[in-house]
Amino acid sequence: MKLLIVMVTRNRKGKAVRTARMIEGDSFAVGRGTQCAVYLPDPRVALEHATIYRGDGAIRLMAVGAATLLVDGRPDPEATLVPGSLVEVGPYALTVEAPPTGADLALAVELLRPLPDDLAEIKSRSRLSLAATWLSKRVPAWTLAILLLLLFVALPIINASMPTMRAMTARLPVTPDQSWSPGPLASGHEGFGHDCSKCHELPFVRVLDRTCLGCHQKIPGHAPTSALEADLFGGTRCASCHADHKGDDGLVRADVGLCADCHRDLKRRFPETKLANASDFAKAHPEFKLTLWRGPGDNDNVRIAQEDKANAVEKSHLKFPHDVHLKQSIRGGKGRVTLTCRSCHAPDASGRAFEPVVMKTHCIECHTLEFEPAVTTRQVPHGSVDDVMTTMQEFYASIVLNAVPVDRVDTGEIRRAIPNPATGPITDDQRQRALAFAKGKAEKVAQDLFEARVCIVCHEVVRTPVATGKPGSFTFDVTKVHPAASFLPKSRFDHDKHRTYECKECHESVVTSKTSADVAIPPIATCRKCHAGAAPEPNKVDSTCIACHGFHLPGHPPMGTRAVLPVRRS
């Protein structure tokens, strides 16, 4: 059997170049092995891929072992080689051509699919840097940036300008307004604080005073007149002292500077002031001044330094020696008692201060107002001289007119002159005489009551001439008492907060006080035992000005009036 093998290669222009050789034998091996007659040097071809042999009168090609062939495009282990048939062995195409004379068969062999270039191959498979992977810097950067700007710029601004949007966004776990809030609101502002624009009315404009004053209309100012207020504080904003978004603690400035910026050298800044310079409580606070009533008007007070002992006396027109009342086992209305501070000074509902001491509640059990104690436990009413006189006149008139058998009351002649009502009617004359007696008796007892025995014990009593009566007639006038509600009204003192201490620990001099002129308010040194200034001290409470003082002073014109006033001079 003779076979013409035509090796077909392609030149650069793609034109086929044919090299033919004749082989002869019984059968021919086809493969990449060098011993093969049809040598196909490619790794994709088996060492011995197929065999060409003559059988059944035809020339055939058969695959060896597991090798595969593509015969006219179909996998087939065997093929009959007739001119025109095409068998693919690996990347090679074996085309059967019409044999030339002297040959049984012509086989054109062409490498259809050469191996790719190794370097280009490995490069195309390998990714040597992260930049060649799907990782990206640009995509996440832009995505995140746009997302953040949408969520935290666009959404809150749209939310602010579209009320319908607000209803929708309110359901989010963090609303757009909350996402902008720098911190928790003071509890008083929380109710409406979910809407930023309630306080921040205008974009890019700081919170306006008028917004604050819209609710806090009547909050008083610091100065006694609006003009002075404007002069001293014009240009100061509400928010200068009240910063929100700092919780409840932050809403009010607590630093010393709040007050001390001016009060440190107030005398220079404001020469008309009667206040002493003050700054830190521990180092630069003046001694306390007592506010004492001097009358005659209810608010006619003077402020006197505590160390000015000669003038720092109370003139309340009440006689009250604390020492006598605080002795052990004193005689009371129902036997022996020992009084304590609380016997008379009952805390008010808030616990911060005390209920006023009232005669009818606190004094009368011991200090009864009996005017005829030997005969009756009846007492004159407390408070009105006229009522006192009327009560007594009625008492004595009743005795005389009803012929009450009372031995102890000296009724003199009159008793016998007036018949017993049971024995017959009395005449007008007799009645007049009886009433005149009662009046005279009452006046006589009154002198004793007012000036010697009862009223005078606690009160100042003066005789006042009566113009309408007989010459020389008079009545009594009990000077109205004016006990101080507070000796230090310019500070806040919470007794309840100090309840762990005994009264006498601060009010020590009260036990030995012999007169109501003594004022037993502790000096500043007593406070400083526990209260430091702004700087911490061991075992003391840091105390800045607002621990005791407030800026907004009750009774002063409201802050709201500042709005129309000119700003402060430089």
């Binding site: 990449r32 092995g33 060098t34 040097p41 490619d42 790794p43 994709r44 088996a46 060492l47 191996l115 270039d117 190794d118 370097l119 191959e121 490995i122 490069k123 498979r125 390998s126 990714r127 040597l128 840097s129 992260l130 930049a131 060649a132 992977t133 799907w134 990782l135 990206s136 810097k137 996440p140 950067a141 832009w142 995140l144 940036a145 746009i146 953040l148 700007l149 935290f152 710029v153 809150p156 602010a160 963090v174 909350q178 996402s179 902008w180 809030s181 720098p182 911190g183 928790p184 921040h200 974009p203 890019f204 404009v205 910063a243 700092k246 932050g250 400035r253 630093d255 500077g257 709040l258």
Partner: protein, 277 residues
Amino acid sequence: MRHQSLLAYARYRWAKIAVVVVGAAIAAYAFDRSPHGHYGGSPLGYTLGTIGALLIVWLTWFGVRKRRYSSTSSTLLGWLSAHVYLGVSLIVIATLHAAFEVGWNVHTLTYVLMLAVILSGFYGVYAYLRYPSGITDVLGDDTQESLLLKISDLDRQMRALALSLPDAVNKLVLASAQETRIGGGFRAQLSGRDRNCPTTAAVTGLQAVGRTLRGHEARISQQLYALMVRKQELVGRARRAVKLKARLDIWLYIHVPLTIALLAALGAHIVSVFYYW
């Protein structure tokens, strides 16, 4: 020129500057007596906030500056040194600006993004100090390109040798040449390994097949085996180089996007503060 680390640049000039900046910020914070205490809106808070914002913008500018090869404003190493130290100082400045307050809001989000950027930067410094020398050690006189060239050259040689050897051998060689990959996805790059590496399989396979061969084939097979082992070594080196390079670069895929996100958040933070002033 003596090699200088980015940390020790100019005798720690930027470290010293950063220490001074941080010290000044802490001192100012400690002595600040703002009326309402410490917070972002106090005079000191605004000052620290402004410094912080300018620093963030300037630090971001480094990303632009490092691409300007023609720039003459200091060396890139100097810029990087400043970038690192001033970036670290930003932690203190921003924390004091925020006065240690946090909440579920854009302000804290900005702060957290900033911390994330700086923390990823810490890794960056570590990577820049550690990996370049490793890459040099692995590559030696080679480059990634020359390693691939050598590998493909070996492939060609091995294919030619394998032609006369049994099909099993030939298959191993072909698979190694056609399927070996260097690097790949970011996980493959970072691990520096390929569990199903055809070259490793070829080394093991050639050893097994080689024992069954005799005479001329055995000799060829031995040559082939030696070449395959050499290829395996080259592939390993290339993969290690890719791994180290990936570890050197990976943090930038966090650092850069978060930086841009931080700029957006910073803008939102500033707008929000002054919109509702």
